[in-house]
């Protein structure tokens, strides 16, 4: 079974600064997808960024980028120029490329990000 570990229950960052959220995972698959989801207090889960394991280039979406270290099974999220609206729970998630698994997401426990003015 695949497991996703987020070792930081809470993180804090000042507005305009940069913060990195950590995630490690365990899998025996060689190809898979990794995701970061954001869940604001309103509870609607929103996709932030995703990375396919066979792609060596780290994914980037505006102020959000990842550091994907496949050998170390590490997938961290960097948020640059943090904004008050970035405050939320952030979940790291994994899905294997197996059709019969249904591509359901395996989530970590989340990291609560606080952004201070």
């Amino acid at each position: 079974a695949q497991t996703v570990t987020q070792s930081q229950p809470e993180m804090s960052v000042q507005e305009a600064e940069t913060v990195t959220l950590s995630c490690t995972y365990d899998t025996s698959e060689s190809d898979y997808y990794l995701f970061w989801y954001k869940q604001p207090p309103s509870r609607q889960m929103i996709l932030v960024i995703r990375q396919e394991a066979y792609k060596q280039q780290n994914a980037t979406e505006n102020r959000f980028s990842v550091n994907f270290q496949k050998a170390a099974k590490s997938f961290s999220l960097k948020i640059s120029d943090s904004q008050l609206g970035d405050a939320a729970m952030y979940f790291c998630a994994y899905t294997p490329p197996l059709a019969n698994s249904g591509y359901a997401l395996n989530f970590g426990k989340g990291t609560s990000l606080l952004v201070t003015p």
């Binding site: 996703v4 997808y33 309103s42 509870r43 609607q44 889960m45 929103i46 996709l47 995703r50 396919e52 979940f91 998630a93 899905t95 294997p96 490329p97 197996l98 059709a99 019969n100 698994s101 249904g102 591509y103 359901a104 997401l105 395996n106 989530f107 970590g108 426990k109 989340g110």
Partner: protein, 115 residues
């Protein structure tokens, strides 16, 4: 494009009572997921449908939980009878479901409190 709709948003019941949640996925999305999110944890898959067939229900407590997807569109999740440990947010998500790169879109969830 309308998002994933869920109702009710909140529900409070007493243990041993029954409750049902409804989900309307994004139009055209073949795959529908129900996740359970207990406070302080990440969502956990309960059941997944591809059109109106079940793909994975291995983590669904079938002695008390049931789910169906009507005509491959709307879905209902039922708990009967509810236990205290069922208190959680129930999230519905949908995707095109063609390949694993298809993004899952989540609804706002239903917060269930069992007293």
């Amino acid at each position: 494009e309308a998002g994933v709709a869920q109702s009710p948003r909140y529900k409070i019941i007493e243990k041993r009572q029954s409750v049902a949640f409804w989900c309307n996925p994004i139009s055209g999305h073949a795959t529908l997921y129900w996740y359970q999110q207990i406070l302080g944890q990440g969502p956990k898959l309960l059941i997944q449908f591809q059109n109106n067939g079940v793909v994975d229900d291995s983590q669904l407590p079938k002695d008390r939980f049931s789910a169906e997807r009507l005509k491959g569109v709307d879905s209902t999740l039922k708990i009967q009878p509810a236990k205290l440990e069922d208190s959680a947010v129930y999230l519905c998500a949908s995707s095109l479901g063609r390949i694993f790169t298809d993004t899952q879109y989540f609804g706002p969830g239903t917060r269930l409190t069992v007293l």
